[in-house]
């Protein structure tokens, strides 16, 4: 009987949302690659206003072997020490100076140019975020689709949603039309908290921006704290992308990818 039914064809993503999704995706890839190349020349993260080779770092990749000996490295996070010998750490000679880096950068890398790439990514991320949020606010989409409803936040519903995730149950039929509660919570957090955090902590490193808005230093607890928070928020972005991709694979990668490219999706039939 089912073969004679017309398959359900859902219009899930408007052109605007699809364009935002992919621009943001490209921006994040550029930002992470260029950002890692920048961190690479000074793999030390500090708390407070000031941090440099003469002050203690909160997170640091450290060379612990003497010059000339086989390289031994440690990743220090607070008081925790992880042996990273053989995995992380490389000496990089620039003129007379030797830099200790996380990994050897590409030979033709222009360090100054890397920062141009990072700022390009910043523009892409910030401008598309502004457009997306403006779009959300000017339509009912934020309330209707992204923000979880009060009834969805009840423990019973959250537990049910969590169970469906843990048992890898795919959404089918009508329920595939909507984001589920955990999805809504995650997307809300990314749009309302994570992306603004990345942008603001980045802007706190700008002399121009902080000359006008010195309050940013107070907000983040100093320039070096802002740099550290900028890095940590990047690791959360990476974790989000990893889960996002894994979830997409579990839920059916190709139909989802198709829907984010064309707008349309044909989910499996609802079980009767």
């Amino acid at each position: 009987m089912a073969t004679t039914e017309t398959p359900l064809r859902l219009y899930r993503h408007t052109r605007f949302v699809r364009l935002w999704h992919w621009t943001t995706a490209v921006a994040i890839v550029i930002a992470i690659l260029s950002g890692l190349l920048i961190l690479n020349v000074h793999p030390r993260l500090y708390l407070g206003e000031v941090g440099n080779e003469h002050t203690a770092a909160w997170i640091e990749l450290k060379k612990v072997s003497p010059p000339g000996a086989p390289m031994k490295t440690e990743l220090k996070i607070g008081s925790m020490v992880i042996d990273t010998s053989g995995y992380l750490g490389a000496d990089l000679a620039v003129g007379e100076a030797t830099y200790f880096t996380i990994f050897p950068p590409p030979e033709d890398l222009e360090f100054g140019g890397t920062r141009k790439w990072h700022f390009l990514a910043g523009w892409m991320l910030a401008l598309t975020w502004l457009a997306y949020v403006a779009g959300l606010l000017s339509s009912s989409r934020l309330r209707r689709k992204i923000l979880p409803e009060a009834k969805e936040l009840r423990p019973a519903n959250l537990a049910g949603d969590l169970m469906r995730h843990l048992t890898f149950k795919r959404a089918s039929g009508e329920s595939a039309r909507h984001y589920n509660t955990l999805q809504k919570i995650t997307y809300s957090a990314v749009i309302v908290v994570l992306i603004p955090l990345v942008i603001l902590s980045g802007l706190t490193m700008s002399h121009t921006v902080t000359a006008l808005f010195p309050e940013l230093f107070t907000l983040f607890g100093g320039r070096q704290s802002a740099r550290t928070i900028h890095f940590l928020s990047m690791t959360i972005v990476v974790a989000f992308i990893a889960v996002h991709l894994v979830q997409a694979v579990i839920a059916g990668f190709w139909p989802l990818l198709k829907s984010m490219l064309t707008g349309y999706m044909t989910p499996g039939q609802e079980k009767k």
Binding site: H42, V50, W117, T208
Partner: protein, 254 residues
């Protein structure tokens, strides 16, 4: 029809993101990428100029916040007999030259520079590598020296020619800023650091402090100041040693 175009656009964007994973270097050599980078650089400059239109000052700190040890970067001891001789004479035979598009060319000794009105500021120096340090700098405002030289109406930029030759390509260091940042109250020519004569590793006899911008713009070992209407005749044409050598942004307030 509509659907096909959407898909094509999306696939194009996907393809470009894939290309990126292949390496920034390769993409950089394409003209689209160069244009994009130039565009975002120009957008960044315009926005910063707009943000700075009220002429805000950067933060200044208390003496107690000065970093115990201030890192040195770039050249820490210029090579060559000329500089060694200047150090041996305690810079008594050295003069700062100011020329280019000015009505009065100047040659100022350290004593001349010391006799001008001085500004002392405790600011945070930040390197594009990520680190920072707080230090105290003293010297005349650049605007004072420019007023003595009287820039011609056609002048747009202030170029700093330095005494140190860069190891990587054997070219003396140079940097440039525009007249807007040049006359900012916190843009000074420091001959003192932490209440002492500027030490050699930090740029003796004179260094630029342009507090609106980061590390590499703050040229050390300044020997000659040239006013000019264009930067394309200078070095590789991008306005500074790092700008030419590894494509660093010319305006570095970001």
């Amino acid at each position: 029809m509509k659907k096909t175009i959407d898909r094509r656009i999306a696939l194009k964007m996907l393809a470009s993101s894939g290309l990126l994973l292949g390496g920034c270097g390769r993409l950089d050599s394409t003209s689209t990428a160069t244009a994009l980078l130039k565009g975002s650089d120009a957008l960044g400059f315009d926005l910063q100029r707009l943000l700075l239109s009220s002429r805000p000052l950067v933060r200044e700190f208390a003496k107690s916040q000065i970093s115990e040890k201030f890192p040195t970067n770039g050249t820490t001891l210029p090579k060559g007999e000329h500089y060694q001789q200047l150090v041996a004479d305690n810079f008594s035979n050295w003069k700062l030259k100011v020329d280019g598009l000015v009505e009065n060319k100047l040659a100022l000794s350290l004593n001349d520079i010391r006799s001008l009105p001085q500004r002392t500021q405790i600011t945070m120096h930040n390197c594009d590598e990520g680190w920072g340090a707080i230090g105290q700098w003293s010297g005349p405002q650049l605007s004072t020296i420019l007023a003595m030289a009287v820039p011609k109406a056609s002048s747009r930029y202030v170029v700093f020619h330095c005494l140190d030759t860069m190891e990587a390509n054997g070219i003396p260091y140079y940097e440039s800023i525009d007249l807007i940042d040049a006359v900012h109250p916190q843009t000074i020519l420091a001959h003192r650091m932490h209440d002492q004569s500027l030490p050699v590793p930090h740029g003796a006899p004179l260094r630029l402090r342009v507090e609106l911008q980061i590390g590499y713009k703050n040229a050390k070992y300044v020997d000659r100041i040239e006013l000019t209407d264009r930067l394309d005749h200078l070095g590789g044409g991008k306005g500074g040693w790092w700008e030419d050598f590894d494509n660093a942004p010319w305006y570095a307030g970001q």
